[in-house]
């Protein structure tokens, strides 16, 4: 089985977010980057587990980004992926990224394409659906469980207030949510081996997204917290009802 895992680079989860150029650009100053947690913890690890269970096949990582993304890609190789491909371009938007991955994956004949359920920066959850459409493949999102028997997959996915179980045959695109796998910490051997694994750089194809960010802003600061006397919960209830009007 040929497995592809799409990974994104995102600001680390504790990052303070700020903007520059009159609030039109994300301020990268002092930002530490990580592999998008959903891509790493769930999509990549489950792909590796499947390869291990089958006892063969390959796991390829694809990323769209500049050369500075190589650290994040190498981490994926250290966790256990066999090889990586980086499309050399700024990941401008979901449509741009999906177009790049589709152009690369089209000729490769992957059996399963994994992504995390969303990235923690733009939270769009769009790349998987776009990619599936571009490749004319089924798309199963928010998967919390994936079992493979030959070419048949049984997948549990999160829906509002419950779970749905579906069956589908390879090839397909799947987005992974919590529950799919457990985070793996790369060991020293993995980190050493990652340095020798192939990381191919390919040029981008043209793709123009008609939806673009024109400006950013930070949420309005909360007004000062009103402290309530712990002995007087009636007062809290009164404020929630009369002042905040939420109950």
């Amino acid at each position: 089985m040929k497995l592809l895992v799409c990974v994104s680079k995102t600001p680390e989860t504790t990052s303070k977010i700020a903007f520059t150029a009159e609030n039109t650009e994300f301020d990268t100053n002092g930002i530490q980057y990580i592999m998008n947690p959903y891509d790493e913890w769930y999509a990549l690890v489950r792909a590796l587990e499947i390869k291990e269970a089958i006892g063969g096949g390959s796991v390829t990582i694809v990323n769209v980004g500049p050369a500075s993304n190589d650290t994040v890609i190498r981490k994926g190789l250290a966790i256990g992926a066999d090889e990586a491909v980086r499309v050399d371009a700024e990941p401008k938007s979901s449509f741009f990224v999906a177009s790049q991955i589709a152009a690369y994956a089209k000729e490769e004949g992957f059996d399963m394409i994994f992504l995390g359920k969303e990235t923690i920066d733009y939270n769009g959850s769009e790349v998987g659906a776009m990619l599936a459409e571009m490749l004319d493949l089924p798309f199963i999102s928010y998967a919390t469980q994936l079992d493979i028997d030959g070419n048949n997959a049984t997948i549990a996915r999160d829906i509002e207030g419950g779970t749905e179980v579906v069956e589908v045959q390879t090839p397909f695109v799947i987005s992974a949510a919590k529950g799919m796998a457990e985070q793996r910490i790369p060991n020293m051997r993995g980190i050493m081996m990652a340095k020798r694994k192939p990381l191919k750089v390919v040029p981008a194809v043209e793709a123009n997204d008609p939806a673009v960010v024109v400006s950013y802003e930070l949420p309005a600061a909360k007004s000062e917290v009103k402290m309530i006397d712990p002995e007087n919960m009636d007062e809290l209830v009164r404020l929630l009802h009369e002042e905040a009007k939420v109950i």
Partner: protein
């Protein structure tokens, strides 16, 4: 024309469905056009009710094949309907269904798309919409320049408004592809409002000391009809199920009222809940960072104060 794709679960519409139609109707007014709704499946009960939320017409595709969700089939069907009806904007709910469809539809319709919008568009000299980014730590404004646009509406971004009459329901026949997905089972927990849709949420963290102490949280939640949630460490240690985990790597929510009980307020947790309209923090540590993000704070031992809060709420409910 603004076309709202309205989801149903087992034939029933949920609040998010009425929010989407209300949003579509208000947007249509801004654009000087009409709003129509599209519903799928053979078991939909009373599709005409969408008229009362502002849909001038409801297009009902009643094929049984659409009773189960397959993003490929649904996207093909919505795209066909959008072309037949002449939709300039297609509105979805930002739900598990909507999120699986948005990107597909954007590609199919050569449309610009924005996922999880939270306000009506600014239509002066273009089409601009806003959404939360960086897991709620910031807001981005997008401009969409394509003829056709697709949007998914974040839950609880506006209140459904019901003031019109029931709409005319017309059948719509579409050319559907065969599904490559077989839905084996759909399990939903009845009686509890799912977290992303909940207006009232009671959430607790490590301050609870152990899963055996959750009775006071459930009691508080039950008193006001709230949904329970928890912080990441609590879900990771198995004290509570994963689906209750709210935060940057869990579910992002924006209820009207969020109780944070025994949760210190790490930045990752705040990112998932800081769009809540009102936040009440109960923590015995006066230095807990969550107090800075709170509207109301109670600095006390939660085991002492939560049962008394529940009593006060019961008294309030009884009056």
């Amino acid at each position: 024309m603004v076309l709202v794709f309205v989801e149903n679960q087992k034939g029933q519409f949920k609040k998010s469905a009425f929010e989407a139609v209300t949003y579509g109707n208000k947007m249509a007014a801004l654009l000087g056009t009409g709003c129509e709704a599209l519903v799928f499946g053979s078991s939909v009960e009373n599709p005409g009710i969408l008229g009362t939320y502002g849909a001038a017409k409801v297009h009902h595709v009643s094929d049984e094949q659409l009773n189960n969700f397959d993003s490929q089939v649904y996207a093909t069907a919505i795209a066909q309907a959008a072309e037949k009806i002449g939709a300039g904007v297609v509105v979805l709910s930002h739900s598990s269904t909507g999120k699986s469809l948005l990107g597909r539809l954007a590609v199919k319709l050569n449309a610009g798309s924005v996922a999880g919008v939270n306000s009506l568009p600014n239509v002066e000299g273009g089409f601009k919409v806003r959404k939360n980014v960086f897991s709620g730590k910031a807001i981005a404004e997008y401009s969409i320049n394509s003829d056709v646009k697709v949007l998914s509406l974040m839950g609880n971004s506006l209140q459904p408004e019901q003031n019109g009459a029931a709409a005319e329901v017309t059948g719509l026949s579409l050319d559907l592809p065969a599904s490559k997905i077989k839905v084996k089972e759909v399990k939903t927990i009845d009686g509890e409002v799912p977290l992303p849709e909940a207006e009232l949420v009671v959430s607790a963290g490590r301050g609870m000391k152990g899963p055996e102490n959750w009775g006071i949280i459930e009691e508080l939640a039950k008193t006001i009809g709230a949904t329970t949630a928890c912080s990441r460490p609590v879900a990771d240690t198995g004290w509570r199920p994963h689906h209750e985990h709210v935060g940057q790597t869990g579910v992002a929510i924006r209820p009207n009222l969020y109780f944070a009980i025994g949760i210190s307020g790490a930045i990752q947790h705040l990112a998932g809940v800081n769009r809540s309209k009102v936040i009440v923090v109960i923590n015995k540590d006066p230095e807990a960072p969550f107090f800075k993000a709170a509207d109301y704070g109670v600095c006390a031992d939660l085991f002492d104060v939560v049962p008394r809060l529940t009593e006060s709420l019961k008294k309030f409910k009884a009056n």
